[in-house]
């Protein structure tokens, strides 16, 4: 039996989605002529501005596409579902957003993405575009930071560097801020049910009727542990314990919070989780500057959720508060 999807042809799903995206958001986005998988912000790139190129596999919408716009990313290279884009569309993005001040590649730390973006960076260098790479590694499910994946927290990292570039900071400065933002971003997720790829229409992993996967990534890769499904408060407590262990919050710290749905987990459940997140932060003496709740980084129709804390100093707070205007996200 095939899983149910409202699609035409699994192999065309990404390209047809992009047609639908461009049709919906003509004032925000366009595709590089001749390179339909390279999506660029209408009002983002400009001379002298550092260009921000993000990207990765499809199926995480509104990540990455939705964060392309003035004040955030300038361009986005779109891969197949859960697959890095090849170097070509990445290179075309780099060219399209290049304002002469260099370009930053930002994406989640996955082997496939690293290889493809690195190849694109080499090709961009041949075109005299200076490229820096900042991987997002916010998933605390892995203990070694350098090996961590980028998951929902890339939202904050992209936001910080997008704001820095929008303020016309230098390549060095934008890179520094992106790295700082990544260092201060901590995510933990759980998954309750699989999703299925449009091409296979089979559940991409198996899980018991009363189980959850703790530390699940955003592609259905197994996490750190299988457990029985618990209550919202217990799940959040476990997530925050793991996040706090990495983040080591001090009383007086200030954070931004993201409670994210992996797809089919509804707002009701996310807000119930947020209730507990805010209680725990209050108990720890951590102040909350802003909170986002919703589907910000998904895995198609997977059920599950993640919590991200983004610790702010004055500079990161300024970046977070700076207005941005994207097709699927606005702030400020």
């Amino acid at each position: 039996m095939q899983t149910k999807k409202i699609i035409n042809d699994g192999n065309k799903a990404v390209d047809e989605m992009l047609e639908g995206v461009l049709a919906a958001h003509p004032n925000h986005l366009f595709a590089v002529p001749g390179s339909p998988r390279s999506i660029v912000a209408r009002n983002g790139p400009r001379p002298g501005k550092v260009g921000i190129v993000i990207g990765g596999g499809s199926g995480h919408e509104p990540t990455f596409l939705g964060y392309v716009g003035k004040g955030l990313a300038d361009g986005c290279a779109v891969g197949n579902v859960f697959a890095s884009p090849p170097p070509d569309p990445i290179l075309e993005c780099a060219k399209a957003v290049n304002g002469g001040a260099g370009v930053i590649f930002q994406y989640g730390n996955y082997a496939g993405d690293v290889m493809n973006f690195d190849m694109a960076a080499e090709m961009a260098a041949m075109d005299d575009i200076e490229v820096r790479t900042v991987l997002t590694t916010d998933d605390v499910a892995t203990s070694v930071k350098a090996k961590r994946r980028g998951v929902a927290g890339n939202f904050f990292v992209f936001k910080a560097s997008g704001a820095a570039a929008d303020k016309m900071f230098s390549l060095d400065e934008v890179e520094r801020i992106a790295r700082k933002a990544n260092d201060q971003t901590f995510t933990m997720g759980v998954a309750l049910s699989p999703c299925s790829l449009p091409q296979t229409r089979k559940p991409n992993f198996e899980i018991g009727d009363d189980e959850m996967e703790i530390g699940m990534g955003i592609h259905g890769e197994p996490g750190v542990q299988r457990g029985k499904l618990r209550t919202a408060d217990e799940i959040v407590d476990d997530m925050l314990d793991r996040i706090f262990a990495e983040m080591v919050p001090s009383r007086g710290d200030r954070v931004a919070v993201l409670v994210n749905s992996l797809g089919s987990t509804p707002l009701m459940e996310l807000y119930i989780m947020n209730r507990r997140v805010q209680q725990r932060l209050a108990d720890s003496g951590v102040g909350v500057h802003a909170t986002w709740v919703g589907p910000y980084c998904t895995s198609l129709e997977m059920a599950g959720a993640s919590v991200t804390l983004h610790r702010l100093d004055g500079e990161l707070q300024e970046m977070l508060d700076r207005p941005c205007d994207c097709a699927m996200f606005r702030a400020g």
Binding site: V81, F82, P86, Y110, A111, M115, T200, K202, F205, E221
Partner: protein, 212 residues
């Protein structure tokens, strides 16, 4: 045995594409256990793109052009991890065949070895890290030893297939240290790496297409 022509290589890519297509679901299922369930899709997209690009190729093309065309179309169709890995493999095969109108048995094995080397250079994986390298390196070594010992192309590729199979089987006992499965740690034990499994399919198809 006659030399391997560009036309023969084009046939070979057709056979690889067909073999991968037949194993697509199994490869996705293997990737579902320790990865993101799309490896069969990536490999099938890549090799069918290569096959289609080669179908449009000038009949007078040389082996290098065949490999490079395959590399480029594979890369652009796939992305993912497999894209750069196989694209680099194929570009290295193209480089090793440079200037040759057709490949001798030894040339072909050299190209085959260059593929394995390309995958390793691109992915920086070592043996034992539970990747396609654990099938490709033993296969390349086995083919190289056999041809050096005068074993001929058919025997060399047969040796490659056996070594790849043993290598893929051995990945079950490895803890992943590269790729998506890396974060699984011990939980990756007991499962075959999908990239190693697909390497066996590719190498078998190469043998079937070339060694007769």
């Amino acid at each position: 045995m006659t030399d391997i022509t560009a036309a023969r290589l084009v046939v070979m890519f057709g056979k690889i594409a067909a073999a991968i297509e037949a194993e697509k679901d199994r490869l996705c299922a293997l990737d579902g256990v320790i990865g993101d369930a799309d490896h069969g899709i990536a490999m099938s997209l890549g090799f069918s793109a290569a096959r289609d690009a080669l179908a449009a190729l000038d009949p007078a093309a040389d082996p290098t052009t065949v490999f490079n065309t395959a590399a480029k179309s594979f890369l652009n169709a796939v992305g993912a991890s497999s894209g750069p890995l196989y694209a680099t493999a194929l570009m290295r095969a193209g480089a090793s065949a440079k200037g040759k109108a057709a490949l001798t048995d030894a040339d072909f094995v050299a190209a085959f070895q260059a593929m394995a080397k390309g995958i390793q250079d691109r992915g920086k994986a070592e043996r034992g890290e539970k990747t396609m390298i654990d099938a490709w390196l033993p296969a390349a070594d086995a083919a190289g030893e056999c041809i050096s010992a005068g074993g001929g192309l058919a025997a060399s590729l047969e040796a490659a297939v056996s070594a790849a199979k043993a290598g893929a089987e051995a990945t079950k006992g490895m803890v992943a240290a590269k790729g998506r499965a890396e974060r699984l740690g011990e939980r990756s034990l007991g499962h075959m790496d999908p990239g190693a499994a697909s390497a066996v399919v590719v190498i078998e198809a190469i043998r079937d297409a070339v060694a007769n």
